[in-house]
Amino acid sequence: MIDALQLEFMRNALVAGLLASVICGIMGTLVVVNRIVFLSGGIAHAAYGGIGLAFYFGWPYLVGTIGFSLVAAIVMAAVSMKAKHRADTIIGVIWALGMAFGIILLDLTPGYNVDLMSYLFGSILTVSKMDLLAMLAVGVLMTILVAAYYKELLALSYDEEFARIRGVPVKGLYFTLIGMLAVTIVMVIQVVGLILVIALLTIPPFIAEKHAKSLMQMMVGSSLLGAIFTIVGLWLSYTYNLTSGASIIMVSGIGFLISALIEQIHLPQKADNQTAAETIKTAAR
């Protein structure tokens, strides 16, 4: 790993992976506790429509993708607020349409062919300094927003009705959350790819949730777990010459399985013995 870091592209890949881990650790925590994983998947896929638009009309890449995903995300959020029982279906429709729309627009764009694989799995090994700076900016901005509205986000996520009674502008906050999610997803996708974003948004928060005592702990735990998965995954991909994004996801998946197994083994004792639960926690730390 040390000699790998002599190479600039490996260093950039590592920094990109760590930044993505932190961004996805924070947003993923909110995604998991608010049960909007499917909505995030919808945003991530529909963003491909934005890529199509950007190339077809010759717009700057980010304007097309962020604009399109924001619109798609707001529509999905509105539907999921108005008609909860229909939300998953509508998200599925927008998910598929956005992706198809993007592919057709790219077909119609003369002389250009975007590789779908690089959209799915990203190209973490070709990350530029500019990409890193953009990600850093989004990460800092997002962290400030989440920190400023932490209590409100906590109340919204835990008990929306109570939050509303306490005067939290629930609707505005929810749309802000979804908007923030759309922007971060698009930013991170262009660096590490769609599949890795979904993996980092869900797997580390899922593991961290069981051991955290607050949203904050869950965010920190998820970020750390994501960072570990990223480092191990990159090292494996370098050593065995494997696709980097996929390696990170496989490592995360193994982490997920181990965590689920530990829980299975300790579950019977947990019911009648609180101290057993405490032991698992300390062991997991």
């Binding site: 506790v33 400023a148 209590k151 409100e152 906590l154 109340a155 996520s157 835990y158 008990d159 009705e161 109570f162 939050a163 509303r164 009674i165 306490r166 005067g167 939290v168 502008p169 949730e209 069981k210 955290a212 005592k213 607050s214 949203l215 702990q217 869950m218 609180q274 639960a277």
Partner: protein, 256 residues
């Protein structure tokens, strides 16, 4: 006479064109301990949401301490149904209680130390201080309810609204729970939605039956015809209650 805490006059509410509540009148005063009973879909939850200002009535007026329900909702402490909340959520009992201190108009961490002290005092009063640092999912149903009551109490309400608080508590725990409410009732008004007629008849002062309309009974009496209008039993159902209530002899309801 002083202003009632909640004043509901001629309220009607329809959901998707279907009448849920009509001609509802109710006054809640400081010393009240009201049980709200009624069949599922009879409009109990809707009435709670109207009082909390989460819904607006189609007709009629709801006043909370002379204000509109939206503005007055900070005077009502709300204890939601346990089942609606995510038990695996990473949050401690203390942080749930502190949620009651949330005020979006105030930014920053000002007052957070005194808030913690206040929350701890309320938890102590409910015999829950020892569990303050535990995750909400590690607590029993009865303990969780006490945490939610503590969260409602730190808002310093004039009225406590509880939506089926005893659903996840065993019989012994339910009796303790109602004793606790009886104790709290010395300072504030309480309205509790419950299906448990037996426990209700021992602790509450009056009963409000909600089934589209609202029938108010000034004593905690449970009459046979009240039961029949509120819980009409079909042939398929077993009559649920071997009824013991004030003023009624021990009796088993006949088959319908």
């Amino acid at each position: 006479m002083d202003t009632p805490i909640v004043e509901i006059s001629d309220v009607a509410f329809a959901y998707n064109g279907e009448t849920v509540l009509r001609d509802v009148n109710l006054e809640i005063r400081q010393e009240d301990f009201i049980a709200m009973i009624g069949p599922n879909g009879g409009g109990k939850s809707t009435l709670l949401k109207l009082m909390l200002g989460l819904l607006k009535p189609d007709k009629g007026v709801i006043r909370v301490l002379g204000r509109s329900a939206q503005k007055g909702s900070s005077y009502i402490g709300y204890v939601p149904q346990d089942v609606h909340l995510n038990r695996s959520f990473p949050i401690t009992a203390m942080d749930v209680v502190l949620m009651g201190k949330l005020d979006p108009r105030k930014r920053g961490v000002r007052g957070s130390v005194s808030y913690r002290q206040e929350a701890l005092t309320v938890l102590e009063r409910l015999a829950m201080a020892a569990h303050a640092g535990k995750r909400i999912g590690e607590l029993s149903g009865g303990q969780r309810q006490r945490v939610f009551i503590a969260r409602a109490l730190v808002t310093q309400p004039k009225l406590l609204l509880l939506d089926e608080p005893t659903a996840s508590i065993d019989t012994k725990g339910q009796a303790d729970f109602f004793k606790l409410l009886e104790e709290l009732n010395k300072d504030i008004a309480i309205l509790v939605v419950s299906h448990d007629l037996l426990v209700i008849s021992r602790y509450v002062k009056s009963v409000a039956c909600v089934n589209k309309g609202l029938h108010y009974h000034h004593q905690a009496e449970i009459t046979a015809d009240m039961l029949e209008t509120m819980y009409p039993c079909t042939d398929a159902e077993v009559c649920p209650v071997e009824l013991v209530a004030h003023g009624l002899p021990h009796r088993v309801l006949k088959d319908h």
